[in-house]
Symmetry: C3
Subunit: 314 residues, 3 copies
């Protein structure tokens, strides 16, 4: 399989994923080796929804490869306001740049846009759809800390609305992992996601829980996500639920010494600051890994021998 | 004539225009030859009105020449809010950068600003005034597709409010062109523009029409512009007018096979998407031509032998 | 003393200040010598409050050193909106970049943030707190025009709310200066600032006035600041006060021919445009000096032998 665009992590086989993570590890080990590799290359940033972190790390990644970016800016100041279609916008901007990064509120936007352009297009989030570069940096962080095979991972918090979680869970089915999903009943994984995961992996690999307590000691990785206040009509209900899914030093007394705690950030109260300086905490490294991982993706898609091509494609 | 600033396409003689278009063609043919030509050069972007396309293509142009930009950002976040005059703003920012691009809602702003600065200033639109870099990329596209002499061009749509159209029509009087203006009566060219064009060119070169039908077969180029809904108090009136000035495959059955269809973009319904992949369509190329044309203008204004100087100045 | 961050000009001894100003003068004399000195270096811009001038000149400075910037953009589009703490934001972004510039509405923000990061952090204004790079460019301008010792300086306008003025006054106590503070009674220096200055310098060095008239002839430098309309509940009161503290050609008839007039800009009516082209006016140079001074600060903080280290530290 060869991929000229990066639309969803679902498009990637285990071989493709390993190609990307290996390239990211190489770059991480010696960034200076690629500091001028894509000089004179321009990356177009098309963010139809606000994003700081994803945008900044894509911008950093392109600049660390010797290239530069051209940013469309906010939708308020763009031609979109004048009724232009997304197809027209991307066709104009691809004429300026050598690759495009697109974030858009509508699911499927990246797929549609990729059909109109010849330059590589990277999906930086399409509504409730996909956010594959986040998944790749999560996988990279897991591999660095605990390995991707023989992994026991707990994924906790808002599992209903988090596209990050759905993509990660799906990608992990490419590896030999035991996934535990921990959430209040009202924020469980959507049934169709559970069904999809079962199709990909035999059922023993996936378990759902309402409490962290029983499962914590067995975990190699605990991936915590934010529970958003606005999901709850009642403040008391929110406080009760949110409080149960918070991690502090006391919680982690029951964990393995080798546990790795991850979080896609920003966090609010889900992880107490007292964890930040412990060996458990990998969430800032995880955020920083966005740079080498996005450098690897850009490098693969922009090189003469273009595309993401895993050596062990299925 | 030597021009240190680019304020209006009216300042440019036929010789000046050809100098710019020739340089753009050279750059277009081999952009890598100029990829580092203006390294260490900074272009200041002063956009007092929103613009995505013009700003992005100026930014792309400067970066494709090896330089970089410094962007003032939106007026909301600038010192203008604190009551600073435009003269003060440009005098401060010229101290940071090697050239300035200015877009401003007030007609005459670019002329005024240019009197306060020593670095080259390029007008990127001053209200109802001028937008010379748009005109230059239009001329470039026409020359590439149909040539600028012995040209028969139709300019259609909102001819009353479009500064793009007025500048283009004026610039075309430097060449041997037959211009047909096609619009509903309510959106005709302003009488003073018609008068001005007649002064520049003998009357046989300019004709006005309310319908495309009679004139279409004779056209080498059809330049379509957007009719803005907000110009019409009545939605029905808008629908009726707008519908008559839309182009689709059926419309073009009466056209020459060599017809070139242009549009400054963004479009709404003026040109049906079914035209996009035909040989008629030049509007995406036209948008892309903004880069080599702006590179040429920046290169001429930033080189040691500064200024736009046509060889056949009148 | 060695400084890895730049939080306040109060942290800097006379030796530190001279180290910075000397480096700025070197850079100013031959900017091309450092044009590639910090290639592959990325500066993170974190502006939690709007700023055009400070941000643009930091961006210019980093680019003139061969590096580039990554801008967080406005708070509206950032993770701060999602409740992220400043400590988390800076820890994420320091992983992308080699140094950080922070502007924040809360006094003390820069100090707090610097405790969480390993890369150099430069304070670009923390509420009513400090703005040390402005002070350094003011000192640089004074030194270029009048010298920093045996200096008689008048500082006029809104002395109550202007952090620029407080920082400058404090920094000048490192040198042999006579400072005259000229303002309406309602906008006098806060008593604690006066007290602080007296502690630093013997009392003869500091005098307060309600009128410029008596003191003008003795001045080497007159530093004018803006009196903000919104400080006054009554428009008449504002007009009366503001009018008395405006400078025009007639005012300056009583001044020394060598007088240097400065202003941090933007100005409104404080200095008549007729002064702009006289030898008195140094305010545009002052704004432009932001570039070499910020280049010097970045260079000192980013070089292998990191930090600001004055040779004559006390």
């Amino acid at each position: 399989m060869r991929h000229d665009h990066l639309i969803t992590s679902k498009q990637l086989s285990r071989g493709d994923i390993e190609t990307v993570l290996d390239r990211a590890a190489e770059i991480d080990a010696d960034p200076s080796a690629v500091a001028d590799r894509h000089a004179n290359t321009l990356l177009g940033l098309l963010f139809f929804e606000p994003s700081t972190r994803t945008k900044m790390s894509f911008e950093t990644a392109m600049k660390r490869l010797g290239g530069d970016v051209v940013d469309m800016g906010s939708v308020e100041s763009s031609s979109v306001k004048k009724g232009e279609t997304l197809a027209d916008t991307v066709r104009v901007i691809e004429g300026y740049t050598d690759a495009l990064v697109l974030r858009h509120p509508k699911q499927g936007a990246a797929t549609m846009a990729s059909e109109f352009v010849d330059v590589p297009l990277l999906n930086a989030g399409d509504g409730a759809g996909h956010h594959p570069t986040q998944t790749m940096l999560d996988l990279y962080t897991i591999r660095e800390n605990a390995g991707l095979d023989d992994l026991t991972i707990g994924i906790m918090g808002d599992l209903k609305y988090g596209r990050t979680v759905h993509s990660l869970a799906h990608a992990l089915t490419n590896f030999e992992t035991q996934q535990h999903f921990i959430s209040p009943e009202s924020l469980q994984l959507p049934r169709e996601v559970v069904y999809d995961l079962h199709q990909r992996q035999d059922g023993t690999g996936i378990k759902e829980h309402e409490s962290l307590e029983g499962v914590l000691p067995s975990l190699d990785v605990l991936y915590v996500t934010r529970i958003q206040r606005e999901r709850f009509p009642d403040e008391n209900e929110y406080q009760k639920v949110a409080g149960e899914y918070q991690i502090d030093a006391e919680t982690l007394e029951a964990a393995s010494d080798d546990l790795t705690v991850m979080h896609p950030l920003p966090r609010v109260d889900e992880i107490a600051p007292e964890i930040d300086d412990t060996d458990y905490a990998a969430y800032f490294d995880q955020a920083h890994n966005g740079v080498p991982v996005r450098m690897a993706l850009l490098d693969l898609l922009l090189s003469d021998d273009r595309g993401i091509r895993g050596e062990t494609d299925e």
